[in-house]
């Protein structure tokens, strides 16, 4: 007999164990999907999760993909912890990239140490501006932030499309939908010769450290935690709710904007139509998988980054459709949410009597 019993208190051990369980279940379910599609499950999983990171180049690619995911997820954890559902990070990334790209284009013929900091700052400001729209509409007009932030994703991608096709397109570019290449001073330096991993990773690590400090060592972190737990309690405690909502949105917008900067001044080096393979949406999964904890998010971003690489490798070597990556991402979140049940409930096996 199986009996389900409510726990007196959510289990802390299980809190950190369930993400591992979720990843395991995703692998099992993924193997099953591969089997149904007619691939050898173990071979497919090997090409998906091991082959891509087996060498130095692969590992650099892993860090390259994990960087924006980690950065955005850290920002989102500020929102999610305090019960603000910013799901438009993809739009904030895009708008941050547009603003910083615009600044980088101003300097396209110049070199100088001052250019890169200005470009990075512009990206953060762009992301903040874009995130401030749902924040202000939520606080002053009571508008649902989920829908507004999401609608703005579509708008940002259309703005980018308009710019790279029209006014910002490279005059010597034979009408390709892309801007000029940025000057070398506007590009993030590469860390190793021959690998694509760039200095943007330090932005992500800085975000991890700062967020850890804010969450666990400041009054703001405490306020966020209380508001996330119960908005009513936060109100009784007299917290300035509106100010906090705007602040967490600005922080997460800045992080997403920086992720956008990292992409265009790192591996891409110019603006074109597709600057992000939905990092902004995938980062939502990373934030949850990392339990909204800075260290957890580092691990989660590495795990989820593999699904991007794995999808590419599996497509090249086994003709497995690349969307499998997205399927895995969705499944991880499903399994994570499902296994959270174990946080609050115990499953007891009771020996049946004869």
């Amino acid at each position: 007999m199986i009996k389900i019993v409510k726990r007196d208190q959510p289990s802390r051990a299980i809190f950190f164990f369930t993400p591992v369980l979720a990843i395991f279940l995703t692998l099992v379910a993924g193997g099953l999907i591969f089997f149904i599609l007619g691939f050898k499950p173990f071979e497919a999983l090997k090409f998906f999760f091991i082959v891509p990171i087996a060498d130095k180049y692969g590992f650099s690619e892993l860090l390259l993909k994990a960087t924006p995911l980690c950065l955005i997820a850290i920002g989102l954890s500020f929102c999610f912890k305090s019960n603000n559902w910013n799901i438009g990070a993809e739009g904030q990334l895009t708008f941050g990239a547009i603003v910083s790209g615009g600044v980088a284009l101003i300097f396209y013929e110049q070199e100088g140490f001052y250019i890169l900091p200005i470009v990075i700052l512009a990206g953060a400001i762009g992301g903040m501006l874009y995130a401030s729209i749902p924040a202000i509409l939520k606080t002053y007009f009571n508008t649902n932030e989920i829908l507004v932030s999401l609608m703005l994703v579509y708008v940002s991608k259309l703005i980018l499309d308009y710019l790279v096709v029209g006014p910002w397109s490279n005059p010597e570019g034979f009408n390709f939908p892309e801007t000029r290449q940025f000057s070398d001073s506007a590009k993030l330096p590469l860390l190793f010769e021959g690998l694509r991993i760039h200095a943007g990773i330090f932005l992500a690590l800085a975000a991890v450290v700062i967020s850890w400090f804010v969450f666990y060592k400041t009054y703001l972190g405490f306020q966020m935690k209380v508001s996330g737990f119960s908005l009513k309690t936060a109100k009784y405690a007299g917290y300035k709710g509106k100010k906090m909502i705007i602040l967490v949105f600005l922080i997460s917008g800045a992080c997403a904007g920086l992720a956008g900067v990292g992409e265009i001044t790192g591996p891409i080096g110019q603006l074109h139509r597709e600057i992000s393979p939905d990092y902004g949406f995938t980062a939502i999964i990373v934030a949850f998988l990392g339990r909204l904890h800075p260290v957890g998010i580092i691990f989660a971003s590495l795990v989820v980054a593999i699904t991007y690489l794995g999808a590419e490798t599996a497509q090249i070597f086994m003709q497995i459709p690349k969307y499998t990556g997205q399927v895995f991402q969705g499944m991880i979140l499903f399994f994570l949410l499902a296994s959270d049940y174990l946080l609050f409930f115990k499953i007891k096996f009771i020996g049946s009597k004869k």
Binding site: L147, M151, Y162, F281, Y323, T324, L333
Partner: protein, 310 residues
């Protein structure tokens, strides 16, 4: 330029046609939300419906199997959501997002073999009556059965919620699950049913897109319509008749965009494409500004989990 009165009729008819998927998905989600469940997976369920309908039509050749198959696919995928949120008591927002991400991935995976295959012609009703009445002819006649169903649905939904006993139960569950439960209503069962119904309607909306509106499979072909459908529910303040108005406005924006391009209005095409999204935001702001009105019309337990032991 001579404006033919039948031409105006045709434009109105095309606006109505583009409103159909929004009406279907919104009316489905409205029932789900009225029972207190916020399912953000509409976009995912819709795209699953779109590929299922198109794939079944191509493989079996039967339009009926395809339409019902798409609805069934919507039901099946929403079962995941229902099981997670109702049985395992997960967060509605996160689960809905997972459903959308998963749905887009799975649909692209299945759809890989169906890209570039031409669709089939879907039969229309009352074709011969189109020219009998000026203006109204093209509006009223010559549409698919799904089209007529969509325009009847808001009225059926309204009747269901206001006049039937089951409708009353759904509203009771959404407004106060505790009292409903005390009255002996199985809250979880009602919510399961409402989620699955929402899935069926989203699936049908998707099938309409891939089988009737633009008969082909294109990756990500729902293009945010699922999210606009969610916004329409807020716009309607949970009143099905107002969904009709909202869907016509958005359908109008989509169609006007084509006509503006056709007559050579010099506005960047991207701006026109962005218009429905921008208008959605503006409309949401206008509707939500009156917080008292929103509070009164929102199902009180919307998005909150209910567990009997609590």
């Amino acid at each position: 330029m001579i404006i033919d009165i039948n031409f105006i009729g045709l434009i109105i008819a095309s606006i109505m046609a583009s409103a159909v998927p929004l009406i279907l998905a919104s009316c489905g989600e409205l029932i789900t939300e009225r029972s207190g469940v916020l399912n953000l997976g509409v976009e995912g369920m819709m795209i699953i419906g779109a590929i299922s309908g198109f794939a079944l039509m191509t493989v079996t050749g039967s339009l009926i199997i395809a339409i019902f198959g798409a609805m069934l696919a919507g039901v099946l995928i929403s079962t995941i959501f229902a099981f997670l949120t109702q049985t395992l008591i997960t967060n509605h927002v996160a689960t809905g997002l997972a459903l959308t991400i998963f749905g887009i991935g799975i649909s692209a995976m299945i759809g890989k073999n169906f890209v570039g295959i031409p669709g089939k012609e879907f039969p229309v009703l009352f074709e011969g009556l189109k020219d009998t009445i000026p203006l109204l002819g093209p509006i009223l006649f010559g549409h698919s059965i799904v089209f007529y169903f969509a325009f009847a649905l808001p009225f059926i939904t309204s009747y269901f919620l206001k006049k039937t006993k089951i409708g009353l139960i759904v509203r009771a569950v959404g407004d106060s699950p505790e009292s409903a439960s005390n009255q002996g209503i199985n809250v979880r069962l009602v919510r399961y049913a409402c989620i699955l119904y929402g899935g069926a309607m989203s699936g049908l909306a998707g099938a309409y897109l891939s089988m009737i509106y633009t008969p082909q499979w294109i990756e990500n072909m729902t293009g945010g319509r699922g999210w606009i459908a969610l916004a329409l529910v807020v716009f309607s303040t949970w009143n099905p008749i107002k969904i009709l108005i909202g869907a016509m406005i958005f359908g109008g924006l989509t169609i006007i965009q084509f006509h503006m391009q056709a007559i050579g209005v010099r506005i960047p095409v991207q701006f026109l494409t962005a218009l429905p999204y921008i208008v959605t935001i503006i409309v949401l702001v206008v509707i939500s500004r009156d917080s008292r009105k929103i509070r009164l019309s929102t199902p009180s337990s919307l998005g909150k989990s209910f567990h009997k032991d609590n």
